[in-house]
């Protein structure tokens, strides 16, 4: 058995096992830090290799130490380079390593979509499992859409709720893979080193309805962070309150939806209004960037419409194009189990060889009939 470093917790979940990915669903990063600490101490005591993946802006979970290997990662480099770096580190550190990741919810501010956090999880966890590592993750409760929490639940071995109620600390295992005890899936109240299951209905109802109330905005959680961001943008456009806020929103939306190219970006911010960006989004399928051709078309049309002597409105055939966001491309790769090959293709000497295999798989793996299915899960 592998210990969480907290005896009472070990007995609730009957201990950790090789290959476990543990996702803590938290309200406060402090709670996560308190769970990480004993886990790492125990691991070091057992002379395990411990690696800390640092990428968030929250307070560091582990102080720099000679005993802990630390990688600083940049989430703003985008999904692919982030996931690739993590993949390479996992390969390099090898079997049986213990990992602590910063809170994944922070990736939202960089990637602006739940979908890609789900994708990240789907490509990373199976690999961690394969290499028999034990890994701690956390996500902020109520910060992610139901759909992406569902995908995380599907992939991880353990998903555990952590919350406070009336001064008490509770954990509530939601998923513990391949382990079972009659009280395992009840909320447990912490008393020093012990975790006591809440077995009586009175207390269970009281506690759970309290928690439920806190997450009352559940309608919103049917939406991706991405959509919520645009709802916010719409409100901003409607109320037209602060010029500064509007400007910041324009900048943000251009950055996540239009382009990474600096020159094009500055042109875009100069020419597009918030309303126009919202309009572009209304014709965007999925999330992520609309890509080079789309931005080129939209920008040029906008520039020409501002050139009054040209009389563009009269000259121009209007367009009603749709854009399919770049995240769909990654989702397609991830959901059709091509990510591993995708990684392999970028390694030395495999560039052309593996590309051929990927191409074949992308095109022919599934029969025509299944075309429905290849996209149905996206």
């Amino acid at each position: 058995m592998i210990s969480t470093g907290i005896k009472g917790l070990d007995s609730v979940i009957t201990g950790l096992r090789e290959g476990d990915n543990v996702v803590w669903q938290i309200d406060d990063i402090k709670d996560y830090a308190e769970l990480v600490k004993p886990f790492v101490e125990q691991a070091l005591k057992e002379k395990r290799k411990v690696v800390y993946m640092r990428f968030a802006s929250h307070k560091e979970l582990l102080k720099p130490s000679l005993k802990i290997k630390r990688y600083e990662l940049n989430a703003y480099a985008g999904f692919e380079s982030f996931a690739t770096k993590v993949n390479n580190i996992i390969t390099q550190e090898g079997e049986g390593t213990y990992y602590v990741f910063d809170c994944l919810s922070e990736l939202l501010s960089a990637w602006a979509t739940d979908l890609m956090i789900g994708n990240f999880f789907m490509v990373t966890c199976p690999y961690l499992y394969e290499l028999k590592t034990v890994t701690y993750f956390s996500i902020l409760r109520y910060n992610h859409s139901f759909k992406s929490v569902a995908r995380i639940r599907e992939t991880t071995q353990l998903l555990i709720d952590v919350y406070h109620c009336e001064g008490c600390f509770y954990i509530h295992p939601l998923k513990v893979w391949n382990r079972y005890s009659p009280t395992m899936f009840l909320p447990h109240q912490r008393e020093n080193d012990k975790f006591i299951p809440i077995t009586d209905s009175v207390n269970a109802v009281k506690l759970l309805s309290y928690i439920h109330e806190k997450g009352a905005e559940s309608a919103k959680r049917n939406l991706d962070y991405w959509d919520l961001l645009f709802i916010e943008a719409e409100e901003l456009a409607r109320n037209n309150t602060s010029e500064n806020k509007t400007k910041n929103m324009v900048k943000k939306l251009c950055n996540i939806m239009l382009t990474k190219n600096k020159k094009i970006l500055s042109l875009a911010m100069q020419h597009f209004s918030l309303e126009e960006l919202i309009e572009i989004k209304s014709r965007l399928i999925g999330t992520g960037y609309i890509g080079g051709k789309s931005i080129g078309m939209l920008l040029a049309r906008k520039i020409l419409s501002e050139d009054t002597p040209l009389n563009w409105q009269k000259l121009s055939e209007s367009h009603d194009s749709f854009y399919i966001g770049s995240d769909i491309f990654y989702s397609y790769i991830v959901q059709n189990q091509l990510w591993k090959l995708h990684m392999q293709q970028k390694t030395e000497g495999e560039y052309f060889r593996v590309a051929k295999i990927i191409k074949e798989k992308m095109l022919y793996e599934r029969s025509r009939k299944k075309s429905w299915n290849t996209f149905s899960r996206l």
Partner: protein
């Protein structure tokens, strides 16, 4: 995916095109033009069938990120390890139904800077168009033996062929369109389109080919009409041309850089037109490298040539591995039959180049390539130089051999269609360097490649310079062009 359904329902059975729109594509510095797929869907059939076609098309575009030439291109530019995310642009196909066909009246590419204009008397800043009748695929891709209408915006009707034969040959003969009945994209001849009476406004785009009709009617009883797609009538008044000039200028100004656009034009009955702007990107660089930055300080002994202006093909940054050099002084002294022999040998050397990308070759010689008069230049046929990457014409006034390439000639058309970069070099001029000592240290491979040509080894030199890192760079803004060796030259 339920959202795809949304697109299918929205467009109904209107033809659509699914275009790659990757993040690297079409930005400043990267020319992925044509590297990834774009797929036309005639989009006929039941919603289920249309959905399946749509999903298949999406897969095809996605998988084109793994196409060998796209990968090679990314690798050359050091982008092989970086992300390439593929977004898609789904556009309604611009055009109108003509019986069972669907296509726009005109489609094309526009450049705000005329990269094919080298003549001093013309202003490259006026820009140019490549126009076709029907879908724009033929204007974007180069199709052998078929010629889009090249339009210098400064003078749209300029075309130097005097013979009607030439006009016939150097025009567009085939039309890309969507066949809604067969539910496919296809190519049919303009002749068939006319004779099926599927396009009514022939007069707008074509002129009657009386000569062909006379000839045909002699030995044919069929009542067939022959037309040549000149597109001349479209330029009858300046409205269209002026509009394009203004569009290109306006975009160039905002981008602070020359631009390239794709568009369609559709005419109404009253001859007014609507332009559909399909895309716009900063003008691209041919060959390697991102934006061309011509180095300032190159040691003189490392320069093969350097010049100002007189090139066509736009921005280039091209590595060169082989040079074929016909020495002007030696050539001019040859007798006529030997001059023909030289052309013949050049043709053989050309056929030795199996792959233009893998063995980029620079061909240099005196006067006009492709002339029929050997005293004015080497009388090659175009097919004898079609594997060359960069063609140089060197002025040799003593022998009365001068470069001459006019816009619109056959040779010019073929160079453009084959994407051969062209330079005219005037060594006598100030600011021009031509260092023919450059070859002295190199081993001439002529007799090794073509043993029976030993007699001409003083006239033709063939040098493989792969170790030298020879490069040609041009910049259309400063009009500077330079061919130099990157690495230190070591004497052998």
């Amino acid at each position: 995916m339920e959202h795809f359904q949304q697109i299918i329902e929205y467009f109904g059975s209107s033809p659509i095109i699914i275009r790659s729109s990757s993040l690297l594509e079409d930005n400043f510095g990267n020319a992925f033009a044509g590297k990834y797929e774009s797929i036309f869907l005639a989009n006929q059939g039941s919603p289920e069938q249309r959905y399946i076609q749509f999903a298949e098309a999406v897969k095809k575009v996605y998988s084109s990120t793994m196409n060998e030439d796209a990968l090679a291109y990314r690798k050359q530019r050091g982008l092989d390890k970086s992300d390439e995310q593929m977004a898609l642009l789904v556009q309604r196909v611009s055009g109108a139904p003509h019986k069972n066909y669907f296509f726009p009246d005109l489609a094309g590419v526009g450049l705000s800077h005329n990269i094919y204009m080298w003549n001093e008397n013309m202003n490259p800043k006026e820009g140019m168009l490549r126009l076709v009748f029907g879908l724009g695929t033929r204007a974007v891709n180069r199709v052998e033996g078929d010629y889009p209408r090249m339009v210098a915006l400064e003078n749209p009707l300029q075309r130097p062929y005097s013979e009607k034969d030439d006009l016939r040959k150097f025009s567009q003969h085939e039309v890309d369109l969507i066949d809604t009945k067969e539910n496919i994209l296809k190519t049919i001849s303009f002749e068939n389109l006319i004779n099926e009476k599927s396009y009514m406004d022939i007069d707008r785009v074509a002129v009657k080919d009386d000569e062909a009709m006379r000839m045909m009617s002699k030995n044919n009883t069929e009542d067939k009409e022959y037309w040549i797609l000149t597109l001349d009538n479209i330029f009858g008044d300046d409205t269209l041309i002026d509009t394009f000039k203004n569009i290109l200028k306006s975009l160039e100004k905002s981008y602070s850089y020359p631009v390239e656009i794709e568009f369609t034009v559709n005419f109404a009955e009253d001859n007014t037109f609507k332009i559909n702007l399909l895309q716009c990107r900063p003008l691209q660089t041919v060959g390697l490298g991102n934006r061309v930055e011509i180095p300032n300080l190159v040691k003189k002994e490392n320069i093969l040539f350097e010049s100002q202006g007189y090139f066509l093909g736009g921005n280039i940054s091209q590595g060169i591995q082989r040079i074929i050099y016909v020495a002007p002084g030696k050539y001019s002294k040859l007798v006529l039959s030997d001059k023909y022999e030289i052309a013949h040998i050049v043709g053989k050397l050309n056929s030795h180049i199996e792959n233009r990308e893998k063995l980029p070759t620079l061909l240099m010689g005196p006067g006009r390539w492709g002339t029929t008069t050997p005293s004015l230049g080497i009388p090659v046929k175009f097919a004898e130089i079609n594997n060359i990457a960069v063609l140089v014409e060197i002025a040799f006034p003593e022998g009365n051999l001068m470069p001459e390439l006019s816009f619109g000639t056959h040779f010019f058309q073929d160079l453009v269609e084959t994407n051969i970069f062209y330079i005219a070099l005037f060594p006598e001029k100030k600011d021009v360097i031509f260092n023919d000592n450059f070859f002295k240290k190199e081993k001439n491979l002529l007799t090794k490649l073509i043993p029976q040509s030993a007699k001409y080894k003083n006239v033709i030199g063939v040098y493989d310079i792969s170790s030298e890192g020879l490069k040609i760079m041009s910049d259309i803004i400063s009009q500077k062009i330079i061919c130099f060796s990157d690495s230190k030259r070591t004497s052998k």
